[in-house]
Amino acid sequence: MEYLVVYFDDDRGVIVNSAPGAWMTNQILMLEAGTYYIELAPPADFTPPQIPIQLVDTTVDDPYPIYFTKTAS
């Protein structure tokens, strides 16, 4: 498995490849190696709207970080 952290000001649901799940921001997420499009659950008060990533060669000690910034909704 590979490890990812989605940083955001708030604790918010994370949407992976358009599929909603129980994933949350600011936690380590586990996914199989591969290509993903990451976005956040509504409201649409974040930028960029979507982040594409190639998730490979991570460890739980060194997860892949991505950052969303809060905008005025």
Binding site: P20, G21, A22, I28, E32, L55
Partner: protein, 498 residues
């Protein structure tokens, strides 16, 4: 009536039968049934069955292998043990059987899986008499010999598998369809697995899979799915479905689209995505299905995929799962090698045919169990590393428990060989069925991982959740109250001392 009129009447009757039997039980997806981009939507999907955060805390999946009545009886015995396993976590006073969230099955294991999903605890009232102790093979032969079935069998659109499916529909599954499973709105989510013999890939009977052939699983008879899952090569013919793709407005899941970019990152993800997209991008008009054991004879692959893939129902719920329990009931055979005793070239039928059909099944069985164990170890390591990191970032990895029940765990070598020697057909002597039911229960009750899992659950219910897992350090000493309370049924006289 003149001879010409008689011929015409006979021909019209034949055409009518052909027309009726040609009409497959599948229906095209309506526009309002098209899945959303995220894969959500109507139909037989995990997320449409009841449950929630609390229901996911203890997440239990069962995998029932193939192996005819022997597999069905072993799985049924394990379910008897689960039914007697009383636990107080996450809810007070439940049984572990009530906590089962999914069952994935192939071939013989699909009979108890589907029956339990449809009828729940009624399985313990009548499944033994309706299926396990019945000569299913004899009944199918009688059906085939009945003169009123000859015109059907003469039709190119009706074959032995249709006869079997109709028999299961009439005599076992009471004409139930997937719509009934959906309307119950309760778990377990049952995944009956067949094999697409055109592509060689696993074909699970779920709406997610039926989306890809533009078809509504709802009206489809459960009996036909079971028949496809257990259509043993050379004995039964394939079950055929129509593929309605390309379907206008059909959204292809992003999971599969991105998977096509992962040839160098993850080959299994790449090839699985490719095989799924082939239903949509290069659609063949028909899908021919045979025994699920040809692609995975344990039934674990569907559970592994649900855990690994980002659109999988386990992966999507991982942050809510505290304990992930996978119990694989593996009725694998280990028959003596009699082929190698002779210098004569084995006969194509039945020796080579049977070996061709079963060798791959057994080899693949090891592969899937090993892979599941690797995933469990990975989860365990992730949890440990995260715990040592001082809590800078939270990682919610469930504690995994992978339990494989097989005859290999029978301590006495002679008894073990006798169980391995039981046939994988659908007509076993009553004393063997009785012994198998008992063995399924005993194997689970005595399994060290099962016992330490129960000890962990009892510790958590008692408020000792921070304590080390009873599985650490070999797990052989765990003596949970819940396991002590399991009383397995009488094993009967077989195998005795013979």
């Amino acid at each position: 009536m003149t001879s010409a009129k008689r011929w015409r009447a006979g021909f019209m009757l034949y055409l009518s039968i052909a027309a009726i039997s040609c009409a497959t039980a599948t229906t095209k997806l309506r526009t309002d049934q098209l899945p959303t981009a995220g894969g959500d939507g109507q139909g037989y999907r995990f997320e449409n069955l009841a449950g929630g955060k609390d229901a996911n805390k203890l997440f239990v999946c069962l995998a029932f292998s193939g192996g005819g009545t022997r597999a069905a009886a072993l799985a049924y015995g394990a379910m008897l043990a689960l039914r007697q396993t009383h636990i107080d976590w996450p809810q007070k006073g439940g049984t572990l059987l009530n906590e089962v969230d999914c069952i994935s099955s192939v071939s013989g294991g699909s009979f108890p899986a589907a029956y339990y999903a449809l009828y729940h605890d009624r399985i313990f009232d009548d499944f033994e008499s309706r299926f396990l102790y019945r000569n299913i093979e004899g009944s199918l032969i009688l059906e085939a010999l009945a003169p009123w079935n000859w015109p059907w069998l003469a039709s190119p659109y009706y074959s032995r598998i249709d006869l079997a499916a109709d028999f299961y529909d009439d005599d076992l599954f009471d004409h139930s369809s997937y719509d009934q499973l959906i309307s119950q709105k309760r778990r377990p989510f049952v995944i009956l697995n067949a094999t697409n013999i055109g592509s060689g890939n696993r074909f699970p009977f779920t709406q997610d899979q039926f989306d890809l052939i533009g078809s509504d699983l709802g009206p489809y008879p459960v009996a036909r799915a079971v028949a496809a899952s257990s259509a043993f090569p050379f004995l039964l013919s394939p079950i055929t479905l129509e593929n309605y793709q390309p379907l206008q407005g059909f959204p292809v899941l992003k999971e599969y689209q991105t998977g096509l970019q992962d040839y160098y990152n993850d080959r299994s993800r790449y090839y699985w995505s490719q095989s799924q997209l082939d239903y949509v991008d290069q659609p063949h008009p028909y899908v021919h299905l045979m025994d699920g054991g040809l692609a995975d004879n344990i039934g674990l692959r569907s559970i592994i995929n649900a855990y690994e893939q980002s659109n999988g129902f386990i992966a999507r719920n991982i942050p809510d799962i505290d304990r992930l329990v996978v119990i694989a009931v593996n009725a694998r055979t280990q028959s003596n090698d009699t082929i190698s005793n002779s210098h004569h070239t084995p006969h194509i039928i039945p020796t080579v045919a049977m070996a061709t059909a079963t060798i791959a099944m057994d080899n693949y069985s090891f592969d899937t169990v090993d892979f599941t164990n690797e995933l469990a170890n990975e989860l365990k390591q992730a949890e440990e590393v995260s715990a040592k990191s001082g809590g800078k970032l939270k990682l919610h990895a469930p504690v995994p428990y992978v339990i494989e029940l097989s005859f290999e765990a029978i301590p006495d070598a002679k008894t073990r060989q006798q169980f391995y020697g039981i046939g994988t057909n659908f007509d076993l002597p009553a004393d063997q069925v009785k012994a198998l039911i008992n063995m399924g229960c005993v194997l689970l009750k005595n399994d060290p991982v099962f016992r330490c899992m129960l000890a962990d659950v009892e510790n958590e219910a008692a408020g000792h959740s921070a304590a080390a897992s009873a599985c650490d350090g070999g797990a052989t000493a765990a003596d949970p109250v819940a396991a002590r309370q399991i009383t397995c049924p009488d094993p009967g006289p077989w195998p005795g001392n013979s």
